[in-house]
């Protein structure tokens, strides 16, 4: 070791050479991580269901073990619910306040997408054409619509869908307020429609607390399939329901 650089170089070389990792060990560790993490997170939702869930857990471990043991198991097309954890806790910020939100996985196997829904406040209603996330407790009649809808349009393009959406906004009596490309909460083209300015009983002219907002996210997948996510809420609810829809949409994932 003649000088500092020789020593440094040899130290670098020797540490790299003698800390090589056995690939079998890496695989074994991954198996343990997978079992610990995903088995633990698929916990029963209520105590009443614990006995059934316990049997389900045993079955899940067996399936997981068998799946890991065979190539056939790994080659099978995975069920979306097996690819994502069932529950997740998210830290979100609503009106400047941070809060923890418990979300549940909702997967549409036919449309091959997943989204995590805050099931304390909302519920997913799967329809034939459109899936809708709506408030668990219905809002009073004085409130405009509040929901988030997810649909897939086939054999079309983003441009064509955007044109259709603008027509739809006008048909709903709203004005196209904004169009932009966004990367958050998902990569998409966004068109936002907003109710017209009106004069209220107190004589104030402009947008009112209940002015409706319809926000559309348009994102294209392979083979001319376009997903449209429509969020509907109103001005006063922008930082409440609007923000919660934003956070839920962050978890939206199309699985090709």
């Amino acid at each position: 070791m003649r000088n500092k650089h020789d020593f440094d170089n040899k130290l670098h070389e020797e540490l790299h050479k003698h800390t090589e990792v056995d690939s079998q060990l890496k695989q074994e560790t991954w198996d343990k991580i997978q079992q610990e993490l995903f088995r633990a997170e698929r916990k029963p939702r209520s105590k009443k269901k614990s006995a059934i869930a316990a049997l389900g857990t045993v079955a899940a471990i067996l399936i997981l073990t068998l799946g890991l043991m065979t190539n056939t198991g790994q080659a099978m097309i995975q069920n979306l619910k097996d690819m994502f954890v069932e529950e997740k806790q998210e830290e979100i910020e609503i009106e400047g306040q941070k809060e923890e939100s418990d979300t549940q996985l909702e997967a549409n196997e036919a449309l091959r997408y997943v989204i995590y829904v805050d099931e304390d406040r909302y519920k997913m209603v799967q329809g034939e054409e459109v899936d809708r996330i709506e408030t668990k407790e219905p809002l009073g009649e004085r409130y405009p619509d509040v929901f988030m809808e997810i649909s897939r349009r086939e054999n079309t393009t983003t441009e064509k869908v955007l044109r259709d959406i603008k027509r739809e906004i006008k048909k709903d009596g709203l004005e196209v307020a904004r169009q932009e490309s966004v990367t958050e909460p998902i990569e998409a083209e966004v068109v936002q429609g907003m109710g017209e300015e009106t004069t209220n009983e107190a004589g104030k002219t402009g947008h009112q607390w209940d002015t409706p907002i319809h926000r559309y996210y348009v994102t294209e997948t392979k083979e001319n399939q376009v997903f449209v996510i429509k969020q509907a809420y109103f001005l006063e609810a922008e930082e409440g329901h609007g923000a919660r829809f934003h956070y839920m949409l962050e978890s939206f994932e199309i699985v090709d």
Partner: protein, 178 residues
């Protein structure tokens, strides 16, 4: 590369297990090397890597996408290694330090030999061993090491200097450098 990694992390944040496996494949190798470098024990390093990835998955929502992922990940790893070392009882050193020094000084032929290095690394205090591993195994800059260990840059420089000096002293090479 960074874009790819960012996309992967975004997917992991969404709970995507396939993306999590890809992230594991990218980071597992150097996680083991690092954990092994610090603990000197293969079984312990497997446990540390396992716990680190479990913590990563459970806390990924706290990771700020505007910051670099690698230092954040290594901070988790190092903290886990330290927690682990603190938890397990210190293993007895089989050779007394004085005997060890005699052995190293009499057998050293001036070249860096891994067996000597291995024993010398074991003699280092944990915080000295950690900076050596981060610098010479992981190729982090001193600034990055400071970020990972949440230390002042000068503290990192000082620890590196002392760690290298001690390594050389144990291995009988101190005189060569001066």
């Amino acid at each position: 590369m960074m874009d790819r990694e960012n996309k992967l992390i975004k997917k992991v944040k969404k709970g995507d297990q396939r993306a999590f496996k890809k992230l594991y494949d990218i980071y597992a190798d150097y996680s083991y090397r690092t954990a092994y470098g610090i603990t000197r024990n293969q079984a312990d390093s497997a446990d540390i890597v396992q716990e680190t990835f479990i913590k990563l998955y459970r806390n990924i929502h706290l990771f700020d996408m505007n910051r670099a992922f690698k230092p954040w990940f290594y901070r988790l790893l190092i903290n886990e290694a330290r927690r682990y070392i603190g938890k397990v009882s210190k293993q007895a050193i089989s050779i007394e330090s004085e005997e060890l020094l005699d052995y190293l000084h009499t057998t050293s032929d001036g070249e860096l030999n891994f067996d000597e290095l291995d024993i010398a690394m074991e003699q280092l205090e944990e915080n000295h061993r950690t900076v050596i591993i981060l610098k010479y195994l992981n190729d982090f800059t001193e600034k990055e090491i400071a970020e990972i260990l949440e230390l002042n840059l000068n503290t990192v420089k000082s620890r590196l200097f002392k760690a290298r000096r001690k390594l050389k002293m144990i291995m009988g090479g101190a005189a060569d450098e001066e």
